[in-house]
Point group: C3
Chain length 100, copies 3
C-alpha cells in the first residue's frame, strides 16, 4: 500500500460562499473535495466584527503547490469581507498520487 504525503486544506466560511469556493478550489487544481454543514462563531473580515451562523466546511486533499495557491487566493479574495477560516495539515493519503 502506498501512502503519499499530501496537504489537507480545510476552509470554513459563511454558507453563501459555498458554490463560489468550490469553483475556486477546482479551478486552482483540486481533483475533489468534500463539504459538510457546520455552525460557527468567530470574527468576520479584517475589521473583526463578530459572526455567528451557518457555515460550510470544505476539505480537499492537494499537493503543496496547490495548497499554497488555494490559501493565497482565499486570503486575497475573501478575508477582508467575509467570515472565513482556512488551514492546512499534513496527512498521509492512500493512493494519494491521484490527487496531485
Amino acid at each position: 500500500m502506498e501512502i503519499v504525503p499530501l496537504k489537507l486544506v480545510t476552509v470554513i466560511a459563511e454558507a453563501l460562499l459555498e458554490d463560489q469556493l468550490i469553483a475556486d478550489i477546482k479551478r486552482l487544481g483540486a481533483r475533489g473535495y468534500s463539504r459538510g454543514e457546520v455552525y460557527g462563531e468567530g470574527s468576520r473580515g479584517l475589521r473583526a466584527s463578530e459572526w455567528e451562523g451557518k457555515n460550510v466546511r470544505i476539505e480537499t486533499l492537494v499537493g503543496e503547490a496547490t495548497a499554497t495557491r488555494i490559501l493565497e487566493h482565499l486570503a486575497a479574495t475573501y478575508f477582508a469581507d467575509y467570515a472565513m477560516v482556512a488551514y492546512v495539515a499534513d496527512v498521509g493519503v492512500v493512493r494519494g498520487e491521484k490527487y496531485v
Copy 2:
C-alpha cells in the same frame, strides 16, 4: 500570505454537553469555533461502559497554551462521567495571528 502554526483542538462528545462545552472553550480563550453533528460509538467515562448516539463535534483553532488549558479542563470536568474524545493536531492557519 502568512501561515501561523496553531493547534486544532477537536472535541467529540454527547450532544447534551454542546452549550456547556462551547461556553467552556470560549471562557478558556478560544476566539471562535465550529460545531457539527456526528453520530458515534465508543466508551463512556472512566468505567468505560459503551456509548452510541448523537454527538457534537467541536473544532477550535488556538495557541498551544490555550489548547492545553482546554484539554486539561475537559479531562478534569467530563471524562469520568461522559462519552468524550478530545484531541489536538498541528495545523498552519492563514492569518492565524487573530486566533491567539
Copy 3:
C-alpha cells in the same frame, strides 16, 4: 494530563458503504468511531470515472498498527470499485491509552 500520540484515520466514501465500513473498522481493532454526512465530488475507483453525491465521513482514533491494517483493508477491498478517500494524520489524544 496525559496526551498520547495516535493516528486519526479519516475515510470518506459513498454513503451506501457506511455500515460495512464501520463493521470493518471495528473488526480491525478500532475502539470507537464517529461518522457524519458530507457531500463530495471526486474520482471513483481505479478507472477514475467521476463521482458526485452523498458521502459518509468516518473518523477513528487508533494506534499505528491498527491504522495500517484499516488502510490496507480499505485499499484492497473498495478502491477499485467505489468512490473513497482514506487518509491518516498524527494527533495527540487526551487519555489516549484507551484507544490502543
